[in-house]
Amino acid sequence: MELKEKLLSSFLAFENQVDVETYVHNIRSEAIKTFETKGFPNKKNEDWKYTSLNKVLKEDYSVFSKQENALEYSDVKKYFIHDIDSYKIIFIDGKYSSHLSETTHDGMDVCLMSAALSKPKYRLVIENYFNQVAKDDSLAALNTAFSQEGAFIHIPKNKLAEKPIQIIHFSTGNEAALMLQPRNLIVVGENSHVQIIERHQSLTSNPILTNSVTEVFANKRAIIDYYKVQNDEQNASLIDNTYINQKQQSHVSVHTFSFGGKLIRNNLNFFQNGEHIDSTLKGITIIGDKQHVDHNTLVHHIEPNCESHQDYKGIFGDNSVGVFNGKVVVEKEAQKTNAFQANNNILVSDKSSINTKPQLEIFADDVKCSHGCTIGQLDESAMFYLRSRGIPEKEAKALLMYAFANNVLKSVKIPELKKRINKIIANKLGVNIGFDL
């Protein structure tokens, strides 16, 4: 059976398990119709010109995990940023693991989507925010149709979440192939501040397809720092759909570190609904083999006096493929917008490739918008300089790549996370360089 057909019939089974007389289920029912009409995107769709899902979709995925699977912390500790105190929302094969998690309801809610969807005390938040910013494109709609579990984070106003929140989705490989559709909702009140680290981690080489949707709401003057660590196994694919709605004077940054997995597609969308908003989108991609990473970003400048900063660096080896499609829309009312976009790439092998496409749609006349993309190789004179000081070729290359990616790492505000990313990069480049940037 084709995956689409399988999903449509699974939806009927899903309806037998959930309460269908709810606000949310009406949204789900609409969403499955949208998915049925649109189906999976293909290359005819301009946004999917350089990324084909065909190979990923042909696996025979289970749509739900058949059993509850458990993991011991000691076995998966290395995937946590374990040297800091943090809240943890952990899932195993799509199901919540209370054993590995550390949630809270003390002055704020760091808990589960399933709880938020079913408990009356969250009804208002759900009605105000759930599916309010996610677009109705086919993959987001598919996720909406099956939305049931994920992270629910609600920070009331004037609250500083003193610990970062880690959201980790493990897949055990107990299913031959598994599709996961986590749904996260993050609402941050006025003047509040939160840091989030998200990771998807497969523990075997069995095929995994994750189609995730995260909705983020930053109210007035809220500050949100979101870090996505994508360093998954060779047969794990991820479609990450993230939608961020910002109110005035809020600052939201998303850092995406893409180092592994089979195919990764990041749909990252920012909507600026207020003045003096700051949006930051940064990414480092280092891949090889036949890996494929696609960053599809949108920043929608709707009101005046806002800023956006995009900085994506990519290093591509072997037969890997990168895609960067960065769209910036500046509405007529959005005067004094300052939008900056950069995408710099290094192709390490002759067989790797990058497709980069800035897309600016500017309807206002008093704005500063800049964009630049570069594709290059490592600088030969810099290589000779480093080697003449005794640094071997491989290490010299790694050092230059570190340096190349360094700008993006600089803005990571959690030192332990920065260290971890450094370590992953060193591993990825196959070197053991004894320094921190």
């Binding site: 004179s381 810099a382 080697r387 003449s388 005794g390 004894g434």
Partner: protein, 252 residues
């Protein structure tokens, strides 16, 4: 220490060195002078192992070993150091981290363990003081936004850290004011010993007032056309290079 025999080298099919012969012994300072485009910097790059240059003929022998097949890093591990005429800017790598990496990679190649962090710090402080380098400077990105003088001082600082057997200073005096020149020369002189050697490549005699050579060689058209003591440098300063060219021309 270093013997260069009948060295011919080219870049992109253009022959630049046409039979260089040179012998440098431990404890000596040799100056190589010559007009622009004569092949001075090429000679420096070829000794250091820059891959773009092809050695077509001849030999470079360091302490009895032919180093022609060695990579730039292997030559560095054997004790060759090149102070660049134009040091490369490397944003994102601090001077300190760069030095730590260079020293530990060199130690690794020589079968030694990493230098302990406190020892490294002490060494960095000591050598920075020798070159009158401010501590803040060490946490800046390598050569990025450095003035000409800072870049050259940083080169000699690296030399002091790595303690090479053979140091080649390629136009180290260019872009230096007199104060910076004195600091750099003082650094080089303090590093001199009976066990190491220095090749100073320069267009002008000025630097040689401070780093006094034992031998001066004049290179022209890819060949050493005249060798002498330090007084040859003064003669060149007074008369320029034209008389050398004429002399060479007359010999042809």
């Amino acid at each position: 220490m270093l013997q260069i025999k009948n060295l011919h080298a080219s870049v992109e099919d253009k022959t630049i060195l046409r039979g260089i012969n040179l012998e440098v012994k431990a404890g000596e300072v040799h100056a190589i002078m010559g007009p622009n485009g004569s092949g001075k910097s090429t000679l420096a790059s070829v000794i250091a192992g820059k891959e773009e240059y092809e050695v077509n003929n001849g030999k470079i022998i360091l302490e009895g070993q032919d180093i022609d097949e060695l990579s730039a890093e292997e030559r560095a591990h054997k004790g060759i150091f090149l102070s660049f005429q134009y040091p490369v800017e490397i944003p994102g790598v601090t001077v300190t981290n760069f030095m730590k990496t260079a020293i530990n990679e060199t130690r690794k190649a020589r079968g030694l363990a990493d230098m302990p962090a406190n020892e490294m710090l002490k060494l960095i402080r000591e050598k920075a003081a020798l070159l009158e380098i401010d501590r803040k400077f060490l946490s800046r990105s390598l050569n990025e936004g450095f003035s000409g003088g800072e870049k050259k001082r940083n080169e000699i600082f690296q030399m002091a850290m790595l303690e090479p057997k053979l140091a080649i200073l390629d136009e180290t005096d260019s872009g230096l004011d007199i104060d910076a020149l004195k600091i750099v020369a003082n650094g080089v002189n303090k590093l001199k010993s009976k066990d190491n050697a220095t090749i100073v490549i320069t267009h002008y005699q000025r630097l040689l007032d401070y780093i006094v050579p034992d031998y001066v060689h004049v290179i022209h058209n890819g060949k050493i056309v005249k060798s002498g003591g330090k007084e040859l440098a003064h003669e060149l300063e007074e008369k320029g290079y034209d008389w050398i060219k004429e002399e060479v021309g007359a010999l042809r």
